[in-house]
Amino acid sequence: MEGKVVFNKRLNGKYYYMKVENRDFVRKCKPGQFFMLKTQVYDYVVDPLLRRPFGICDVDEDGFTLLYLLVGKGTSLLANIEEGTLIKFSEPLGNGFKLVADSKVALVGGGVGIAPLLYLAKELKKKNNEITLFYGGKSKDDIHLIDEFKKFCDEIKISTEDGTLGQKGRVTALLDKTASFDKVYCCGPKPMMKATVDFALENEIDIEVSLDEKMACGIGACLGCIIYIKEKNGIVQKRCCVEGPVFDGTKIAWERLNG
């Protein structure tokens, strides 16, 4: 698949927001899915070589967006792509979030992990859910797209570790004060997700988390993105890119995960 870059905005020092046009893509995608993006625009240039995985942040009828953080080679190139440029990517990949209806749900996001939760919020709202967003970051510079989330969330609670926006502290601390959710959806740093899963277990709430592992193929062939899941017979391997990136948080063997 390919599509034109509609916009590629720098939100602040390290965060960018890009929209890509492709109607076929949006017809196929579901919240929580990701795609593999070729950050090297020219096929004849082989460095960086591999495509990069990104969560689908939002969609409309014309295209989709991604919220990304500047990390290394690929995202550095991505940040330099100008609007109008034709870029290549895979179709929507992986296993998305399972949507509930008529429920009270919590979305818990940390840093750039907020990315897939916007499209999720949009779809959950369509199913008459009451949505509370818990959004954490190191500082106010890590908090984005609040205006977009306001369109779908009944309540937004923000925390930053340095206290520059919202409540000072970790987002997981905000969770302790409310325990009446029907389901929690989570995406962010592993420690934050683990803490959120612990909260969910304690309160017997369903929880799905979106994981990230380094990916080469993104489609289930290379076996480079393995996740360890607890099943009745013991711990089994799953591919983050096919059986994930969304998993039942309570089934993840957190101690076996990387980083």
Binding site: K38, D43, V46, D47, P48, L49, L50, R51, K73, K88, S90, E91, E213, K214, M215, A216, C217, G218, I219, G220, A221, C222, L223, G224, I226, Q237, V242, R256, L257, N258
Partner: protein, 307 residues
């Protein structure tokens, strides 16, 4: 002949509609890609390296990108030969493409046992023996870097199979690949595939740890192409059996280059991760190249480079 497919090749008596085979470990068991491309258009698929029993593979992380390449230490994870035959092969068989099964073992006996199980399956076209994976923590598979062990394991497998031609896949991590190629041929190999990955390492300067938990991993992708081309040439000059070229192929020009160096077919590996459509684009572009250059059959290119 006018209507003969100019991309059709024959390897060890087996016809391939074109010389583009996907490389073991980069194309899963084949069916993973069926959602993205028409795998019937491939000449062949070399499936993920199978062992006697299921292998869980190495600890994470297992991959890291490098300049124009990647390192992997998957650890030969696979579902085992029995589950492959019962669960994957029936699905894969639906497609019109040659099926090559890549396999390995920890001992000579294991190699033989896996080979024998595969040898009787009519849906499989060829066997490819991986004697060169550097990823096993137990010191690595020594077979592919020890001449005596190579002779032993190839002879043993060849003696125990009757139906399938045997390709032996060579490691590049040796002083003289010609020696290993000759040993393989003399031990009965029906074809040689070259090369498997180069042994490499990458350290994260922030964590001060290796990027992959196995410490070292196999280097693949365009970065290694010049080494692969050189080794194909050396093997071609050494053996009479056909050589299958592997290493860094990204486009049709790379394929022509490998043919000129001596290849009779090629395998496309890491490129499948870059874009699943690459092998099919290669088939299309190769067709155009063959037509434009008025070549009757691609096999005419094998070893035809001008010194």
């Amino acid at each position: 002949m006018a209507n003969k497919n100019p991309l059709e090749i024959e390897l060890c008596g087996i016809k391939f509609k074109n010389p583009i085979i996907t490389a073991s470990g980069t194309f899963g068991y084949g069916i993973e890609y069926s959602r993205f491309i028409d795998i019937s258009k491939l000449g062949g698929i070399s499936v993920k390296g199978l062992s006697l029993h299921e292998v869980p593979g190495n600890k994470m992380p297992r991959i890291i990108e490098t300049p124009a390449g990647m390192l992997n230490a998957i650890g030969l994870q696979n579902i085992g030969v029995d589950r492959f035959i019962s669960e994957k092969l029936p699905q894969l068989r639906k497609y019109d493409t040659r099926i090559i099964v890549n396999f390995w073992g920890k001992t000579v006996d294991e190699y033989v046992e896996v080979a024998k199980k595969l040898d009787v399956i009519t849906d499989i076209d060829m066997l490819e023996m991986n004697i060169s994976c550097p990823n096993i923590k137990e010191g690595g598979i020594a077979f592919g870097t020890d001449p005596k062990m190579t002779e032993k394991v190839v002879s043993a497998v060849k003696k125990n199979i009757r139906n399938k031609p045997l390709i032996v896949k060579l490691s590049p991590n040796v002083t003289d690949i010609k020696l290993f190629a000759k040993i393989c041929e003399d031990s009965g190999a029906d074809a040689i595939s070259a090369i498997n990955t180069l042994l490499g390492m990458s350290i994260d300067i922030d964590t001060r740890k290796p990027h992959i938990s196995n410490i070292t991993g196999g280097l693949s992708g365009p970065a290694i192409k010049p080494v692969a081309v050189r080794m194909v040439y050396e093997v071609f000059k050494t053996v009479k059996v056909p050589v299958i070229g592997i290493g860094g192929i990204m486009n049709y020009k790379d394929v022509v280059e490998f043919f000129l160096a001596g290849a009779s077919a090629v395998q496309v590996g890491t490129a499948n991760f870059v874009d699943p459509e690459i092998p099919l684009k290669i088939v299309d572009d190769l067709s155009k190249y063959i037509n434009k250059n008025k070549i009757n059959n691609i096999s005419e290119l094998t070893g035809s480079f001008d010194i």
